[in-house]
């Protein structure tokens, strides 16, 4: 039990450091670091508080406290992933619209112009 919570504490600290470092180096945008940091902080809090762990165990009906911890971790990261799916989908929508717009603008700049010229020549 202690080993597991200690490991979780270490893991969440590592995660926080990793994310902060990536933000500093501009590998992760600040907006998207928030999900990771809050998840890591919650994890840190749970792993340091036997009381919180017991609450989760009681709430979920999982008798085993370590198992409850793993369960909490799983749920937390599912939420983060869910948020990222939304972000990715938004990005993709914007990206499609942008690609189509670029193609249309390029077309009207070059092909449309060429056609008008050839029509004028006729």
């Amino acid at each position: 039990m202690d080993r597991l919570t200690n490991f979780m504490t270490g893991f969440s600290l590592l995660l926080i450091l990793l994310v902060l470092r990536s933000v500093r180096r501009a590998h992760i945008r600040v907006e998207y670091s928030v999900s990771w940091l809050s998840a890591a902080l919650v994890l840190l809090a749970i792993s340091r508080s036997p009381w919180a762990l017991e609450q989760i165990a009681a709430l979920t009906g999982i008798a085993d406290a370590p198992l409850a911890l793993v369960f909490a971790v799983g749920c937390l990261f599912l939420i983060v992933f869910y948020r990222f799916s939304i972000v990715i989908s938004d990005l993709k929508d914007a990206n499609i619209a942008l690609a189509q717009r670029v193609a249309i603008l390029e077309y009207r700049l070059y092909e449309g112009h060429g056609r008008r010229q050839s029509q004028a020549a006729r």
């Binding site: 499609i96 690609a99 189509q100 670029v102 193609a103 249309i104 390029e106 077309y107 092909e111 056609r115």
Partner: protein, 242 residues
């Protein structure tokens, strides 16, 4: 039949790595009506599709990166809408659609009062020429779509489709990205638009290989089913909010 006037009809040809076939497709379309504008939408092909299409006399809309069939077709719809075209007919770049059917589709677009016209390969009861897999999928989606559309669509996966300006406006705002044909029917139905099917010949592809495989078929069915229901929910939601 008299060819359409200027800015009345645009033929779009989505093509992805079709350099073997697209040239002939373009020339066949122009053989039907020499002055007809043909727009090949090149979905960032890695072969000479764009060059071959240009050499054959088509205008080319080149996407900056690969979007997939629906994204490419929608790009064509958007451009056609902005350029003021009244009708757009889509012909596949693999040569499976016979451009000699274009006048029939165009006629139906103008006279049927429907917003969409589908070139259907099964209307004359000819169901034994297609692959078993495709026929099974077709029958399945006929069943699914019947209650949604309120009538039977014989060839729901046909890509040989004509639309008028009203449908063009809808599609330039909302069009499925990956496998567009079936979802597009639902998008139209939600707006109380109508479609009609016109019998057409479909040929074996001129070159290249089909994108349909067994695993992809399952993915296709799940993807399209989800798309259909998402489109229904999305629209009901919007109605409800009003």
């Amino acid at each position: 039949m008299t060819p359409p006037a200027d800015a009345a009809l645009l033929v779009i040809v989505p093509a992805f790595n079709e350099e073997q076939a697209v040239g002939r497709v373009v020339r066949e379309i122009q053989a039907v009506w020499p002055a007809i504008p043909v727009l090949v939408i090149d979905d960032c092909s890695t072969d000479g599709t764009a060059r071959v299409a240009r050499d054959a006399g088509a205008a080319v809309l080149s996407l900056p990166h690969h979007l997939g069939l629906g994204g490419a077709v929608q790009a064509g719809y958007k451009l056609a809408y902005e350029l003021g075209y009244q009708y757009v007919i889509r012909v596949d770049g693999d040569g499976q659609h016979d451009p000699r059917d274009i006048p029939r589709l165009y006629e139906a677009l103008r006279t049927s009062g429907c917003q969409m016209v589908i070139g259907s390969r099964y209307l004359d009861g000819d169901e034994n020429r297609t692959s078993l897999l495709r026929l099974a999928g077709t029958k399945f989606f006929r069943l699914v779509l019947r209650p949604i559309l309120g009538k039977t669509v014989r060839d729901p996966t046909s890509g040989f489709v004509g639309v008028n300006r009203a449908a063009l406006e809808v599609f330039s705002k909302s069009f499925p990205l990956e496998y567009p044909e079936i979802e597009a029917l639902v998008v139209l139905q939600r707006r109380r638009f109508d479609f009609v099917e016109v019998p057409c010949r479909m040929r074996p592809r001129l070159a290249g290989k089909s994108t349909i495989t067994a695993v992809k078929s399952i993915y296709y069915i799940v993807h399209v089913l989800l798309g259909v229901f998402v489109n229904i929910l999305k629209f009901e939601h919007r109605l409800w909010k009003r």
